[in-house]
Protein backbone atom coordinates (compact mmCIF):
# COMPACT_ATOMS: atom_id res chain seq x y z
CA UNK A 1 0.00 0.00 0.00
CA UNK A 2 1.45 3.42 -0.93
CA UNK A 3 2.79 5.73 1.71
CA UNK A 4 0.34 8.22 3.11
CA UNK A 5 0.95 11.77 4.11
CA UNK A 6 -1.79 12.82 6.49
CA UNK A 7 -3.58 16.07 6.01
CA UNK A 8 -2.24 19.00 7.96
CA UNK A 9 -5.05 19.10 10.47
CA UNK A 10 -4.97 15.36 11.03
CA UNK A 11 -1.21 15.28 11.54
CA UNK A 12 -1.05 17.99 14.15
CA UNK A 13 -1.48 16.40 17.53
CA UNK A 14 -2.06 19.53 19.48
CA UNK A 15 -0.78 19.33 23.03
CA UNK A 16 -3.82 21.32 24.05
CA UNK A 17 -6.37 18.98 22.52
CA UNK A 18 -9.61 18.43 24.37
CA UNK A 19 -9.88 14.77 25.35
CA UNK A 20 -13.13 12.83 25.57
CA UNK A 21 -12.84 9.33 26.99
CA UNK A 22 -15.95 7.43 25.93
CA UNK A 23 -15.18 4.82 28.62
CA UNK A 24 -16.08 7.54 31.13
CA UNK A 25 -18.27 10.04 29.26
CA UNK A 26 -21.32 9.54 27.14
CA UNK A 27 -21.40 9.86 23.39
CA UNK A 28 -24.10 12.50 23.80
CA UNK A 29 -21.74 14.66 25.87
CA UNK A 30 -19.11 14.43 23.16
CA UNK A 31 -21.43 15.26 20.30
CA UNK A 32 -23.14 18.05 22.25
CA UNK A 33 -19.76 19.63 23.04
CA UNK A 34 -18.87 19.48 19.36
CA UNK A 35 -22.19 21.01 18.36
CA UNK A 36 -21.77 23.79 20.95
CA UNK A 37 -18.55 25.00 19.29
CA UNK A 38 -18.97 28.60 18.19
CA UNK A 39 -17.39 29.83 14.96
CA UNK A 40 -13.80 30.84 15.59
CA UNK A 41 -13.48 28.76 18.77
CA UNK A 42 -9.94 28.11 19.96
CA UNK A 43 -10.79 24.49 20.76
CA UNK A 44 -9.64 23.22 17.41
CA UNK A 45 -8.11 19.90 18.46
CA UNK A 46 -10.14 17.04 19.92
CA UNK A 47 -9.27 13.52 20.86
CA UNK A 48 -11.76 10.71 21.44
CA UNK A 49 -10.57 7.69 23.43
CA UNK A 50 -12.12 4.21 23.73
CA UNK A 51 -14.82 4.55 21.06
CA UNK A 52 -15.27 0.73 21.18
CA UNK A 53 -17.47 0.57 18.12
CA UNK A 54 -19.86 3.33 19.29
CA UNK A 55 -22.37 4.60 16.77
CA UNK A 56 -22.58 8.22 15.56
CA UNK A 57 -19.20 9.39 16.86
CA UNK A 58 -18.65 13.04 15.87
CA UNK A 59 -21.83 13.30 13.83
CA UNK A 60 -22.94 16.75 12.71
CA UNK A 61 -19.65 18.61 13.25
CA UNK A 62 -19.97 22.03 11.64
CA UNK A 63 -16.75 23.80 12.63
CA UNK A 64 -13.23 23.40 11.18
CA UNK A 65 -11.82 21.37 14.07
CA UNK A 66 -9.56 18.31 14.03
CA UNK A 67 -10.89 15.21 15.81
CA UNK A 68 -8.71 12.16 16.35
CA UNK A 69 -10.69 9.06 17.25
CA UNK A 70 -8.39 6.46 18.87
CA UNK A 71 -9.96 3.15 17.98
CA UNK A 72 -12.70 1.60 15.85
CA UNK A 73 -16.17 3.10 15.50
CA UNK A 74 -19.63 1.77 14.63
CA UNK A 75 -22.32 3.18 12.37
CA UNK A 76 -22.32 6.69 10.85
CA UNK A 77 -19.08 8.13 12.21
CA UNK A 78 -18.67 11.71 10.99
CA UNK A 79 -22.09 11.73 9.36
CA UNK A 80 -23.13 15.11 7.93
CA UNK A 81 -19.64 16.45 8.66
CA UNK A 82 -19.43 20.09 7.53
CA UNK A 83 -15.87 21.28 7.77
CA UNK A 84 -14.31 19.07 10.43
CA UNK A 85 -11.23 16.90 9.92
CA UNK A 86 -12.00 13.56 11.53
CA UNK A 87 -9.36 10.84 11.70
CA UNK A 88 -10.38 7.36 12.79
CA UNK A 89 -7.33 5.48 14.06
CA UNK A 90 -9.06 2.15 13.54
CA UNK A 91 -11.85 0.84 11.34
CA UNK A 92 -15.30 2.30 10.71
CA UNK A 93 -18.70 0.60 10.67
CA UNK A 94 -21.47 1.18 8.12
CA UNK A 95 -22.15 4.66 6.76
CA UNK A 96 -18.95 6.48 7.68
CA UNK A 97 -19.20 10.07 6.43
CA UNK A 98 -22.78 9.61 5.28
CA UNK A 99 -24.04 12.83 3.75
CA UNK A 100 -20.78 14.69 4.41
CA UNK A 101 -21.05 18.33 3.30
CA UNK A 102 -17.41 19.47 3.53
CA UNK A 103 -14.20 18.81 5.43
CA UNK A 104 -12.30 15.57 5.63
CA UNK A 105 -12.63 12.11 7.13
CA UNK A 106 -9.67 9.74 7.19
CA UNK A 107 -10.13 6.11 8.20
CA UNK A 108 -6.80 4.43 8.92
CA UNK A 109 -8.32 0.93 8.81
CA UNK A 110 -11.22 -0.51 6.81
CA UNK A 111 -14.71 0.85 6.28
CA UNK A 112 -17.91 -1.19 6.22
CA UNK A 113 -20.90 -0.78 3.90
CA UNK A 114 -21.98 2.46 2.21
CA UNK A 115 -19.00 4.62 3.14
CA UNK A 116 -19.64 8.20 2.03
CA UNK A 117 -23.23 7.45 0.99
CA UNK A 118 -25.08 10.49 -0.39
CA UNK A 119 -22.07 12.70 0.44
CA UNK A 120 -22.35 16.20 -0.98
CA UNK A 121 -18.80 17.45 -0.51
CA UNK A 122 -15.52 17.11 1.32
CA UNK A 123 -12.98 14.29 1.12
CA UNK A 124 -13.30 10.79 2.56
CA UNK A 125 -10.09 8.73 2.63
CA UNK A 126 -10.19 5.03 3.49
CA UNK A 127 -6.65 3.74 3.95
CA UNK A 128 -7.76 0.09 4.07
CA UNK A 129 -10.61 -1.51 2.13
CA UNK A 130 -14.19 -0.34 1.85
CA UNK A 131 -16.93 -2.93 1.55
CA UNK A 132 -20.14 -2.93 -0.48
CA UNK A 133 -22.02 0.15 -1.70
CA UNK A 134 -19.12 2.57 -1.21
CA UNK A 135 -20.21 6.00 -2.47
CA UNK A 136 -23.80 4.94 -3.11
CA UNK A 137 -25.80 7.91 -4.36
CA UNK A 138 -22.82 10.23 -3.88
CA UNK A 139 -23.66 13.82 -4.72
CA UNK A 140 -20.37 15.71 -4.88
CA UNK A 141 -18.14 14.05 -2.28
CA UNK A 142 -14.64 12.88 -3.20
CA UNK A 143 -13.75 9.40 -1.92
CA UNK A 144 -10.27 7.89 -2.09
CA UNK A 145 -9.88 4.22 -1.10
CA UNK A 146 -6.35 2.84 -0.84
CA UNK A 147 -7.50 -0.78 -0.93
CA UNK A 148 -10.47 -2.46 -2.62
CA UNK A 149 -14.17 -1.67 -2.69
CA UNK A 150 -17.08 -4.12 -2.57
CA UNK A 151 -20.03 -4.76 -4.84
CA UNK A 152 -22.60 -2.17 -5.93
CA UNK A 153 -20.27 0.74 -5.22
CA UNK A 154 -21.23 4.14 -6.67
CA UNK A 155 -24.78 2.87 -7.31
CA UNK A 156 -26.77 5.82 -8.71
CA UNK A 157 -23.79 8.08 -8.04
CA UNK A 158 -24.69 11.58 -9.14
CA UNK A 159 -21.56 13.69 -8.88
CA UNK A 160 -18.15 13.76 -7.22
CA UNK A 161 -15.18 11.44 -7.63
CA UNK A 162 -14.50 7.92 -6.40
CA UNK A 163 -10.84 6.87 -6.58
CA UNK A 164 -9.88 3.26 -5.87
CA UNK A 165 -6.24 2.22 -5.73
CA UNK A 166 -7.15 -1.47 -5.55
CA UNK A 167 -9.96 -3.49 -7.14
CA UNK A 168 -13.71 -2.92 -7.41
CA UNK A 169 -16.41 -5.56 -6.83
CA UNK A 170 -19.43 -6.48 -8.92
CA UNK A 171 -21.77 -3.97 -10.57
CA UNK A 172 -19.60 -0.88 -10.19
CA UNK A 173 -21.48 2.33 -10.97
CA UNK A 174 -24.85 0.74 -11.65
CA UNK A 175 -27.33 3.37 -12.92
CA UNK A 176 -24.67 6.05 -12.51
CA UNK A 177 -25.31 9.70 -13.36
CA UNK A 178 -22.36 12.10 -13.62
CA UNK A 179 -19.95 10.93 -10.90
CA UNK A 180 -16.43 10.00 -12.07
CA UNK A 181 -14.95 6.67 -11.06
CA UNK A 182 -11.21 5.97 -11.22
CA UNK A 183 -10.04 2.42 -10.53
CA UNK A 184 -6.40 1.32 -10.61
CA UNK A 185 -7.00 -2.42 -10.25
CA UNK A 186 -9.46 -4.90 -11.63
CA UNK A 187 -13.19 -4.23 -11.88
CA UNK A 188 -15.19 -7.41 -11.25
CA UNK A 189 -18.06 -6.15 -13.40
CA UNK A 190 -19.69 -2.89 -14.42
CA UNK A 191 -23.28 -2.14 -13.50
CA UNK A 192 -26.04 -1.07 -15.89
CA UNK A 193 -25.09 1.96 -18.00
CA UNK A 194 -21.58 2.22 -16.53
CA UNK A 195 -18.76 2.12 -19.10
CA UNK A 196 -15.01 2.58 -19.31
CA UNK A 197 -14.18 6.02 -20.60
CA UNK A 198 -11.18 7.72 -22.12
CA UNK A 199 -8.69 9.17 -19.61
CA UNK A 200 -8.25 12.60 -21.15
CA UNK A 201 -5.60 15.06 -19.84
CA UNK A 202 -8.13 17.02 -17.77
CA UNK A 203 -9.02 13.83 -15.89
CA UNK A 204 -5.38 12.97 -15.27
CA UNK A 205 -5.01 16.42 -13.77
CA UNK A 206 -8.17 16.07 -11.67
CA UNK A 207 -7.11 12.62 -10.44
CA UNK A 208 -3.59 13.78 -9.58
CA UNK A 209 -5.12 16.57 -7.53
CA UNK A 210 -7.29 14.09 -5.64
CA UNK A 211 -4.33 11.77 -4.98
CA UNK A 212 -2.33 14.72 -3.69
CA UNK A 213 -5.18 15.89 -1.44
CA UNK A 214 -5.53 12.38 -0.05
CA UNK A 215 -1.82 12.22 0.68
CA UNK A 216 -1.21 9.33 -1.70
CA UNK A 217 2.36 9.09 -2.96
CA UNK A 218 4.08 6.63 -5.24
CA UNK A 219 1.03 6.15 -7.45
CA UNK A 220 0.57 7.79 -10.84
CA UNK A 221 -2.73 9.03 -12.22
CA UNK A 222 -1.90 7.24 -15.47
CA UNK A 223 -2.21 3.87 -13.71
CA UNK A 224 -5.99 4.31 -13.35
CA UNK A 225 -8.88 3.68 -15.71
CA UNK A 226 -11.87 5.99 -15.78
CA UNK A 227 -15.49 4.80 -15.67
CA UNK A 228 -18.69 6.76 -15.94
CA UNK A 229 -22.19 6.92 -17.35
CA UNK A 230 -23.05 5.86 -20.89
CA UNK A 231 -26.11 8.11 -20.40
CA UNK A 232 -28.44 5.63 -22.08
CA UNK A 233 -30.78 5.48 -19.08
CA UNK A 234 -31.33 9.21 -18.90
CA UNK A 235 -34.38 9.12 -21.14
CA UNK A 236 -37.02 6.47 -21.56
CA UNK A 237 -36.46 4.35 -24.65
CA UNK A 238 -39.73 3.24 -26.20
CA UNK A 239 -38.08 -0.04 -27.33
CA UNK A 240 -37.88 -1.03 -23.64
CA UNK A 241 -41.60 -0.58 -23.01
CA UNK A 242 -42.11 -4.35 -22.87
CA UNK A 243 -39.72 -4.61 -19.94
CA UNK A 244 -42.09 -2.78 -17.60
Amino acid sequence: MPAINLSKAGREQSHASRVFDLAEMSLRELNQALHDLAPGSNETAWEVLHPRGSHSVAVGVDQPVAIDVRGSVGYYCGGMNDGGTITVHGSAGPGVGENMMSGQIIVKGDASQYAGATGRGGLLVIEGNASSRCGISMKGIDIVVHGNIGHMSAFMAQSGNLVVLGDAGDALGDSIYEARLFVRGKVESLGADCIAKEMRPEYLELLQGLLDRAGVTGVKAAEFKRYGSARTLYNFNIDNADAY
Partner: protein, 297 residues
Amino acid sequence: MCGIVGLFLKDKSLEPQLGAMLSEMLISLSDRGPDSAGIAIYGASSNEAKITIQSAKPEHDFRGLDAELAKAIGAPVSIAAKSTHAVVRTTPAKIDEAREAIQALRPDIRIMGAGDVVEIYKEVGLPEAVVDRFGVREMTGTHGIGHTRMATESAVTTMGAHPFSTGADQCLVHNGSLSNHNNVRRELIREGMIFETENDTEVAAAYLSSQMAHGKNLGEALEGTLSDLDGFFTFVVGTKNGFGVVRDPIACKPAVMAETDQYVAFGSEYRALTKLPGIDNAKVWEPEPATVYFWEH
Protein backbone atom coordinates in the same frame (compact mmCIF):
# COMPACT_ATOMS: atom_id res chain seq x y z
CA MET B 1 -32.24 -5.54 12.87
CA CYS B 2 -31.42 -8.41 15.28
CA GLY B 3 -27.97 -8.94 16.72
CA ILE B 4 -26.03 -12.16 16.40
CA VAL B 5 -22.80 -13.37 17.97
CA GLY B 6 -20.64 -16.46 17.86
CA LEU B 7 -17.46 -17.58 19.57
CA PHE B 8 -15.32 -20.58 18.68
CA LEU B 9 -12.44 -21.19 21.05
CA LYS B 10 -9.11 -22.54 19.90
CA ASP B 11 -7.39 -22.09 23.28
CA LYS B 12 -8.68 -24.58 25.84
CA SER B 13 -7.70 -22.33 28.72
CA LEU B 14 -10.55 -19.98 27.73
CA GLU B 15 -13.22 -22.69 27.90
CA PRO B 16 -14.26 -21.92 31.51
CA GLN B 17 -15.01 -18.35 30.34
CA LEU B 18 -17.01 -19.19 27.22
CA GLY B 19 -20.39 -18.44 28.80
CA ALA B 20 -19.19 -15.16 30.27
CA MET B 21 -17.55 -14.01 27.04
CA LEU B 22 -20.52 -14.90 24.86
CA SER B 23 -22.93 -13.28 27.34
CA GLU B 24 -21.01 -9.98 27.23
CA MET B 25 -20.93 -10.09 23.45
CA LEU B 26 -24.69 -10.56 23.24
CA ILE B 27 -25.54 -7.97 25.89
CA SER B 28 -23.51 -5.36 24.00
CA LEU B 29 -25.92 -5.78 21.07
CA SER B 30 -29.12 -5.48 23.15
CA ASP B 31 -30.32 -2.41 21.26
CA ARG B 32 -30.35 -4.39 18.02
CA GLY B 33 -33.23 -6.49 19.31
CA PRO B 34 -35.25 -6.19 22.53
CA ASP B 35 -37.86 -8.88 21.89
CA SER B 36 -36.17 -12.12 22.86
CA ALA B 37 -32.73 -13.60 23.24
CA GLY B 38 -31.09 -16.98 23.19
CA ILE B 39 -27.76 -18.73 23.47
CA ALA B 40 -26.50 -22.18 22.52
CA ILE B 41 -23.45 -23.45 24.38
CA TYR B 42 -21.41 -26.44 23.27
CA GLY B 43 -20.08 -27.98 26.48
CA ALA B 44 -17.71 -30.82 27.19
CA SER B 45 -18.40 -34.30 25.85
CA SER B 46 -19.49 -36.93 28.33
CA ASN B 47 -20.92 -40.45 28.07
CA GLU B 48 -24.45 -39.01 28.24
CA ALA B 49 -26.54 -37.19 25.66
CA LYS B 50 -28.59 -34.10 26.46
CA ILE B 51 -32.02 -32.76 25.59
CA THR B 52 -32.81 -29.15 26.47
CA ILE B 53 -36.51 -28.78 27.26
CA GLN B 54 -38.70 -25.78 28.06
CA SER B 55 -42.02 -25.32 29.77
CA ALA B 56 -44.25 -22.38 30.63
CA LYS B 57 -45.11 -24.24 33.87
CA PRO B 58 -41.74 -25.68 34.91
CA GLU B 59 -42.75 -26.52 38.54
CA HIS B 60 -45.55 -28.65 37.21
CA ASP B 61 -43.92 -30.16 34.13
CA PHE B 62 -40.43 -30.93 35.46
CA ARG B 63 -41.53 -32.47 38.80
CA GLY B 64 -41.08 -36.24 38.77
CA LEU B 65 -40.25 -36.26 35.07
CA ASP B 66 -36.86 -37.94 35.64
CA ALA B 67 -38.36 -41.03 37.27
CA GLU B 68 -41.26 -41.26 34.80
CA LEU B 69 -38.94 -40.86 31.83
CA ALA B 70 -36.43 -43.41 33.17
CA LYS B 71 -39.23 -45.90 33.53
CA ALA B 72 -40.61 -45.14 30.05
CA ILE B 73 -37.31 -45.61 28.23
CA GLY B 74 -35.69 -48.15 30.57
CA ALA B 75 -32.50 -46.16 31.09
CA PRO B 76 -31.13 -43.83 33.77
CA VAL B 77 -32.25 -40.18 33.42
CA SER B 78 -31.20 -37.04 35.27
CA ILE B 79 -32.79 -33.61 34.98
CA ALA B 80 -31.20 -30.28 35.88
CA ALA B 81 -33.77 -27.48 35.87
CA LYS B 82 -32.84 -23.85 35.24
CA SER B 83 -35.87 -21.56 35.41
CA THR B 84 -38.15 -22.39 32.45
CA HIS B 85 -35.59 -24.73 30.91
CA ALA B 86 -34.13 -28.05 31.96
CA VAL B 87 -31.40 -30.30 30.63
CA VAL B 88 -32.32 -33.97 30.49
CA ARG B 89 -29.36 -36.38 30.44
CA THR B 90 -29.54 -39.99 29.41
CA THR B 91 -27.78 -42.75 27.46
CA PRO B 92 -26.99 -41.54 23.89
CA ALA B 93 -28.65 -44.63 22.34
CA LYS B 94 -31.93 -43.67 24.04
CA ILE B 95 -32.07 -40.06 22.91
CA ASP B 96 -34.78 -40.37 20.24
CA GLU B 97 -36.86 -42.57 22.48
CA ALA B 98 -36.50 -40.05 25.29
CA ARG B 99 -37.69 -37.19 23.04
CA GLU B 100 -40.82 -39.08 22.14
CA ALA B 101 -41.45 -40.13 25.74
CA ILE B 102 -41.10 -36.54 26.97
CA GLN B 103 -43.71 -35.37 24.45
CA ALA B 104 -46.04 -38.19 25.51
CA LEU B 105 -45.56 -37.67 29.25
CA ARG B 106 -45.68 -33.86 29.18
CA PRO B 107 -47.38 -32.54 26.02
CA ASP B 108 -46.76 -28.89 27.01
CA ILE B 109 -42.98 -29.29 27.11
CA ARG B 110 -41.12 -27.93 24.08
CA ILE B 111 -37.83 -29.40 22.93
CA MET B 112 -35.23 -26.65 22.41
CA GLY B 113 -32.56 -28.97 21.06
CA ALA B 114 -30.69 -32.18 21.66
CA GLY B 115 -27.30 -33.73 21.12
CA ASP B 116 -24.14 -34.89 22.83
CA VAL B 117 -22.91 -31.47 23.93
CA VAL B 118 -25.31 -28.62 23.07
CA GLU B 119 -27.55 -26.80 25.54
CA ILE B 120 -29.94 -24.10 24.30
CA TYR B 121 -31.56 -21.38 26.39
CA LYS B 122 -33.94 -18.84 24.88
CA GLU B 123 -36.74 -16.67 26.18
CA VAL B 124 -38.65 -13.47 25.57
CA GLY B 125 -36.81 -10.49 27.06
CA LEU B 126 -33.52 -8.61 26.85
CA PRO B 127 -30.21 -10.51 26.58
CA GLU B 128 -29.12 -9.54 30.09
CA ALA B 129 -32.33 -10.91 31.63
CA VAL B 130 -32.08 -14.13 29.63
CA VAL B 131 -28.40 -14.62 30.45
CA ASP B 132 -29.05 -14.03 34.18
CA ARG B 133 -32.08 -16.26 34.25
CA PHE B 134 -30.18 -19.27 32.93
CA GLY B 135 -26.79 -18.60 34.53
CA VAL B 136 -25.14 -18.53 31.09
CA ARG B 137 -22.14 -16.58 32.40
CA GLU B 138 -21.09 -19.57 34.50
CA MET B 139 -21.24 -22.04 31.60
CA THR B 140 -18.09 -23.57 30.16
CA GLY B 141 -17.71 -24.84 26.64
CA THR B 142 -15.81 -24.99 23.39
CA HIS B 143 -18.03 -22.76 21.25
CA GLY B 144 -21.40 -21.08 21.23
CA ILE B 145 -23.75 -18.79 19.34
CA GLY B 146 -26.27 -16.20 20.46
CA HIS B 147 -29.05 -13.98 19.16
CA THR B 148 -31.08 -10.99 20.25
CA ARG B 149 -34.23 -10.58 18.24
CA MET B 150 -36.20 -7.75 16.69
CA ALA B 151 -39.07 -9.77 15.29
CA THR B 152 -40.25 -9.09 11.75
CA GLU B 153 -41.41 -12.42 10.43
CA SER B 154 -43.34 -14.25 13.14
CA ALA B 155 -44.62 -13.97 16.72
CA VAL B 156 -42.54 -12.87 19.71
CA THR B 157 -42.60 -16.11 21.68
CA THR B 158 -40.07 -18.43 23.28
CA MET B 159 -40.31 -20.76 20.32
CA GLY B 160 -39.86 -17.87 17.88
CA ALA B 161 -36.57 -16.92 19.55
CA HIS B 162 -33.23 -18.07 18.18
CA PRO B 163 -31.13 -20.25 18.13
CA PHE B 164 -33.14 -22.80 16.19
CA SER B 165 -32.05 -26.40 16.44
CA THR B 166 -33.30 -28.99 13.96
CA GLY B 167 -30.67 -31.69 14.23
CA ALA B 168 -28.45 -33.25 16.87
CA ASP B 169 -25.98 -30.65 18.15
CA GLN B 170 -26.88 -28.36 15.24
CA CYS B 171 -28.21 -24.86 15.65
CA LEU B 172 -28.43 -21.60 13.81
CA VAL B 173 -28.96 -17.89 14.42
CA HIS B 174 -30.07 -15.51 11.68
CA ASN B 175 -30.16 -11.82 10.99
CA GLY B 176 -32.43 -11.05 8.08
CA SER B 177 -35.59 -12.49 6.57
CA LEU B 178 -36.21 -15.23 4.04
CA SER B 179 -38.77 -14.88 1.28
CA ASN B 180 -39.03 -18.48 0.02
CA HIS B 181 -39.30 -20.17 3.41
CA ASN B 182 -42.82 -21.49 2.84
CA ASN B 183 -41.76 -23.39 -0.28
CA VAL B 184 -38.60 -24.73 1.29
CA ARG B 185 -40.54 -25.76 4.42
CA ARG B 186 -43.02 -27.72 2.29
CA GLU B 187 -40.18 -29.55 0.54
CA LEU B 188 -38.48 -30.36 3.83
CA ILE B 189 -41.73 -31.58 5.40
CA ARG B 190 -42.11 -33.96 2.47
CA GLU B 191 -38.63 -35.22 3.31
CA GLY B 192 -39.75 -35.88 6.86
CA MET B 193 -38.38 -32.84 8.70
CA ILE B 194 -40.50 -31.67 11.63
CA PHE B 195 -41.19 -27.99 12.28
CA GLU B 196 -42.17 -26.40 15.58
CA THR B 197 -43.01 -22.89 14.29
CA GLU B 198 -43.97 -20.78 11.26
CA ASN B 199 -40.65 -18.97 11.57
CA ASP B 200 -38.45 -18.40 8.49
CA THR B 201 -35.22 -19.04 10.39
CA GLU B 202 -36.32 -22.50 11.48
CA VAL B 203 -36.50 -23.34 7.78
CA ALA B 204 -32.87 -22.32 7.29
CA ALA B 205 -31.84 -24.48 10.25
CA ALA B 206 -33.82 -27.43 8.93
CA TYR B 207 -32.39 -26.91 5.45
CA LEU B 208 -28.85 -27.24 6.84
CA SER B 209 -29.80 -30.26 8.96
CA SER B 210 -31.27 -31.91 5.88
CA GLN B 211 -28.18 -31.18 3.78
CA MET B 212 -25.88 -32.57 6.47
CA ALA B 213 -28.12 -35.62 6.90
CA HIS B 214 -27.49 -36.23 3.19
CA GLY B 215 -23.77 -36.40 3.87
CA LYS B 216 -22.66 -32.84 3.23
CA ASN B 217 -20.22 -31.23 5.62
CA LEU B 218 -21.01 -27.89 7.26
CA GLY B 219 -19.19 -25.90 4.59
CA GLU B 220 -20.99 -27.64 1.72
CA ALA B 221 -24.36 -27.26 3.46
CA LEU B 222 -23.75 -23.53 3.96
CA GLU B 223 -22.77 -23.22 0.30
CA GLY B 224 -26.20 -24.59 -0.62
CA THR B 225 -28.00 -21.75 1.19
CA LEU B 226 -26.66 -19.33 -1.42
CA SER B 227 -28.63 -20.97 -4.22
CA ASP B 228 -31.58 -22.51 -2.34
CA LEU B 229 -32.57 -19.79 0.13
CA ASP B 230 -33.90 -16.47 -1.13
CA GLY B 231 -33.84 -13.39 1.05
CA PHE B 232 -31.57 -11.50 3.37
CA PHE B 233 -29.37 -13.45 5.70
CA THR B 234 -26.31 -13.55 7.80
CA PHE B 235 -26.24 -17.01 9.38
CA VAL B 236 -24.02 -18.17 12.21
CA VAL B 237 -24.16 -21.91 12.72
CA GLY B 238 -22.86 -24.34 15.31
CA THR B 239 -22.35 -28.08 15.01
CA LYS B 240 -20.87 -30.52 17.52
CA ASN B 241 -17.33 -29.57 16.59
CA GLY B 242 -17.82 -26.81 14.03
CA PHE B 243 -18.70 -23.16 13.61
CA GLY B 244 -19.73 -21.50 10.35
CA VAL B 245 -20.75 -18.14 8.90
CA VAL B 246 -22.35 -17.20 5.59
CA ARG B 247 -23.92 -14.00 4.22
CA ASP B 248 -26.25 -13.70 1.25
CA PRO B 249 -24.82 -12.14 -1.95
CA ILE B 250 -26.38 -8.72 -1.25
CA ALA B 251 -24.89 -8.74 2.27
CA CYS B 252 -26.82 -5.82 3.71
CA LYS B 253 -27.00 -7.43 7.15
CA PRO B 254 -23.89 -6.38 9.04
CA ALA B 255 -21.12 -8.75 10.11
CA VAL B 256 -17.67 -8.45 11.63
CA MET B 257 -15.27 -11.25 12.46
CA ALA B 258 -12.12 -11.44 14.55
CA GLU B 259 -9.52 -14.17 14.77
CA THR B 260 -6.56 -14.67 17.08
CA ASP B 261 -4.56 -17.73 18.14
CA GLN B 262 -7.13 -18.13 20.93
CA TYR B 263 -10.50 -17.82 19.17
CA VAL B 264 -12.65 -16.99 16.17
CA ALA B 265 -15.43 -14.52 16.99
CA PHE B 266 -18.41 -13.18 15.11
CA GLY B 267 -20.53 -10.10 15.87
CA SER B 268 -23.20 -8.16 14.02
CA GLU B 269 -21.11 -5.16 14.99
CA TYR B 270 -17.59 -4.50 16.21
CA ARG B 271 -19.11 -3.39 19.54
CA ALA B 272 -19.69 -7.06 20.35
CA LEU B 273 -15.99 -7.87 20.05
CA THR B 274 -14.38 -5.03 21.99
CA LYS B 275 -14.06 -6.88 25.31
CA LEU B 276 -12.50 -10.04 23.89
CA PRO B 277 -8.92 -10.72 24.99
CA GLY B 278 -6.31 -9.45 22.56
CA ILE B 279 -8.88 -7.83 20.28
CA ASP B 280 -6.57 -4.88 19.57
CA ASN B 281 -4.14 -7.23 17.85
CA ALA B 282 -6.71 -9.60 16.35
CA LYS B 283 -7.26 -9.99 12.63
CA VAL B 284 -10.59 -8.17 12.22
CA TRP B 285 -12.50 -8.30 8.94
CA GLU B 286 -15.91 -8.10 7.36
CA PRO B 287 -16.91 -11.49 5.93
CA GLU B 288 -17.35 -11.31 2.15
CA PRO B 289 -20.79 -11.69 0.58
CA ALA B 290 -21.73 -15.19 -0.68
CA THR B 291 -18.64 -16.68 0.93
CA VAL B 292 -18.66 -19.58 3.36
CA TYR B 293 -16.43 -19.47 6.43
CA PHE B 294 -16.17 -22.44 8.75
CA TRP B 295 -13.91 -23.85 11.42
CA GLU B 296 -13.84 -27.27 13.02
CA HIS B 297 -12.17 -28.62 16.14
